[in-house]
Symmetry: C2
Subunit: 390 residues, 2 copies
């Protein structure tokens, strides 16, 4: 997620929101290991109706968090999907109870590698067990149990969020009335894996990474994220990722070959391309808010995600009553439209109820995080059609 995308909106109809936490005893992971205890950070917008059938779960991307809408006290920017959540917006809080939770394995409030290992009193670091997209979804399912939500009216999300949407529809078909996977895939291609590989190498080759033990000391635990991070490695990983989040066209329009003169005591000493300044800024900003080991764990979850072969998936989804809206973006080259079309094909072969739209928007992969009318209208009309058809 581009850190610059959360545009200041003076007044949010979602108002001031607070992150809440659901603590539970344990979660058996796909690997067989047991994680205990487990904390899930989550936020909600709107109200659960009496029938408890109006809940929508939003799933975030790689570096996202539970804060999808509204403002935290003192913050200058609203949640990451503010423009599509709220009264009268696509995820209409006058109608729906919207929930967003930070995935397990993350560092934004839920249990992950940056959390304290109760057995040692130190951060887990690389001792954290491997997590998968399925584990993230299983944890979310426990949160839904806790909130009293048996069946979700919808599950929606882009990129890694879209993988969770697919996993929900796969693992909990009876709990998912509708599913909206955006700019996502059933499984990473070699190229998608390759970019994540380079991010992990960048972190692990940074001497400050110290095999993941960069913040094992007691003192370090008191510092904010970023204080002892392998900053250059994590920053570079973020920059590598960031190139893939934008299209060639969007980069060209935004930066072209513009050069920025660097000033030092009034004397211009050097010049850099604007795109370099932008990328460096993205790297520095990211290091302040995201944990390096977590980046390794989450990108591995992405790369290892594979719901099955198309043949297996076709058999599995046959008989599914979930209604799907699959969305891709025309200029997304890292999660290209062909991957969304493959999802559609498998679902069609399964006789599933699936609608597909490719949105012509030249920003690239991160287009789903940028305010534009079309995504909202597609989501809104899709949800409303299902609601009216009930």
């Amino acid at each position: 997620m581009n850190d610059d995308k959360r545009e200041p909106i003076k007044e949010s109809p979602n108002g001031i929101v607070e992150t809440r936490y659901y603590d539970f005893d344990s979660l058996t992971l796909e690997s067989g290991e047991m994680l205990s205890p487990v904390k899930l950070a989550y936020e909600t917008y709107g109200s659960l109706n009496e029938a408890k059938d109006n809940a929508i779960l939003l799933c975030h991307a790689l570096s996202g968090d539970a804060h999808a809408a509204g403002y935290h006290t003192g913050d200058k920017k609203p949640g990451w999907w503010e423009f599509i959540i709220g009264p009268g917006r696509a995820f209409d809080t006058n109608k729906y109870f919207v929930v967003c939770s930070n995935v397990i394995g993350s560092c934004n409030g839920s249990t992950g590698p940056a959390s304290i290992n109760p057995k040692t009193g130190k951060k887990y670091g690389m001792d954290f067990p491997a997590v998968s997209i399925r584990d993230m979804v299983n944890a979310q399912a426990k949160l839904m149990d806790y909130l009293g939500i048996d069946r979700l009216f919808s599950v929606a999300g882009g990129s890694m969020g879209g993988m969770q949407v697919l996993e929900w529809a796969y693992s909990y078909p009876e709990r998912v009335k509708t599913a909206i996977p955006i700019a996502t895939t059933f499984r990473h291609s070699a190229q998608q894996i390759a970019f994540n590989v380079l991010g992990r190498i960048a972190i692990q080759d940074d001497p400050a990474w110290k095999k993941g033990e960069y913040s094992e000391s007691e003192a370090a635990l008191l510092r904010p994220i970023g204080a002892l991070q392998p900053a250059s490695g994590l920053g570079l990983a973020r920059m590598i990722g960031h190139i893939t989040y934008m299209s060639d066209e969007a980069m060209e329009r935004k930066f072209g070959r513009e050069v920025r003169k660097l000033d030092s005591s009034g004397k211009p000493i050097d010049s850099v391309f604007e795109v370099e300044s932008f990328l460096r800024h993205q790297g520095v900003t990211f290091v302040k808010r995201f944990d390096a080991n977590t980046y390794i764990y989450i990108t591995k979850a992405l790369d290892n995600f594979n719901l099955g072969s198309n043949q297996e998936l076709t058999e599995h989804f046959t008989g599914s009553r979930t209604k799907f809206l699959v969305i891709s973006y025309s200029h997304d080259w890292i999660y290209p439209a062909k991957q969304s079309k493959e999802i559609v094909k498998v679902l069609k072969y399964s006789w599933a109820d699936v609608t597909y739209c490719e949105i012509l928007q030249d920003y690239g992969h991160d287009a789903f995080l940028i305010e534009h009318a079309e995504q909202g209208v597609l989501v809104s009309n899709f949800l409303e059609n299902v609601r009216k058809g009930e």
Copy 2:
């Protein structure tokens, strides 16, 4: 250039070749600085005819060298463009005198950042003056003077080689009868710059880089390239580059999601994706043969290359008698076909004689370095048409 592409060819019609060196006193660079003395490494294949009008200059890409064809004694792989050079091949050594020189600023025999600075007795490192594509071409022009070649029958090359081809046609129109720019551009886009920026950051963030002074000691000068390099930074830069040299489709076909089990004392301890093994191998191999500071200098030359606006170029090329064959590759996403089409458009607006072919070949950018029939036929027929028309 992919280090694995030089397939063993038992017998080369080009036989055993030797790199030669042309030493000259000085070269005034585009920056105004003077480089002195200057050494250019070069190789030749075939014979210069009496009229001295059958010479073809081949220009190499980012990490290339003068060794375009034949074998060096003891080598297992031939030069980087072996399959297209030789008797009966597209650059037919029965007809043409083929020359390839290592660009200045490089580390493969010509004067560059890894050369000894005569003023200090140590390697230039980051004290080397900035070099440009124009500087590379001006040095090649001096080599042509030395070889007695007034006018080149053709200049050809892909990627950075293609930039040199365009620069030759721009700066020395009377010396270039035909020009073959392949998979190249008049100027880097923001995305192309961005990938190079990340490569430079990877190197410069590696503590072993030491502001470019990783091999300043006398002892270091005696060691081969790679001994004291910022290996992880340069390796990562290479891996970043390598992802861009292949198409999504080629990576998928070659690696897919295949996993390699890593063995340690008979016990499988970990597994990695095949694409990771491949990229790591590319990084390790590259560090042994290429200098980190040089990588910084050459990628900057690439990013700074800009022959002028399309308007300026249209005016400049109007009246040019050079015949152009512009080639692009269908699945090249880092130097996309649209950039070649822009070259063609400018040349057409200039009333220049230009032929354009997009080759349907799914390998990606490095396709021009891989043996396939179409490129050879296009080049061969283009050259032969001009030769017959004389």
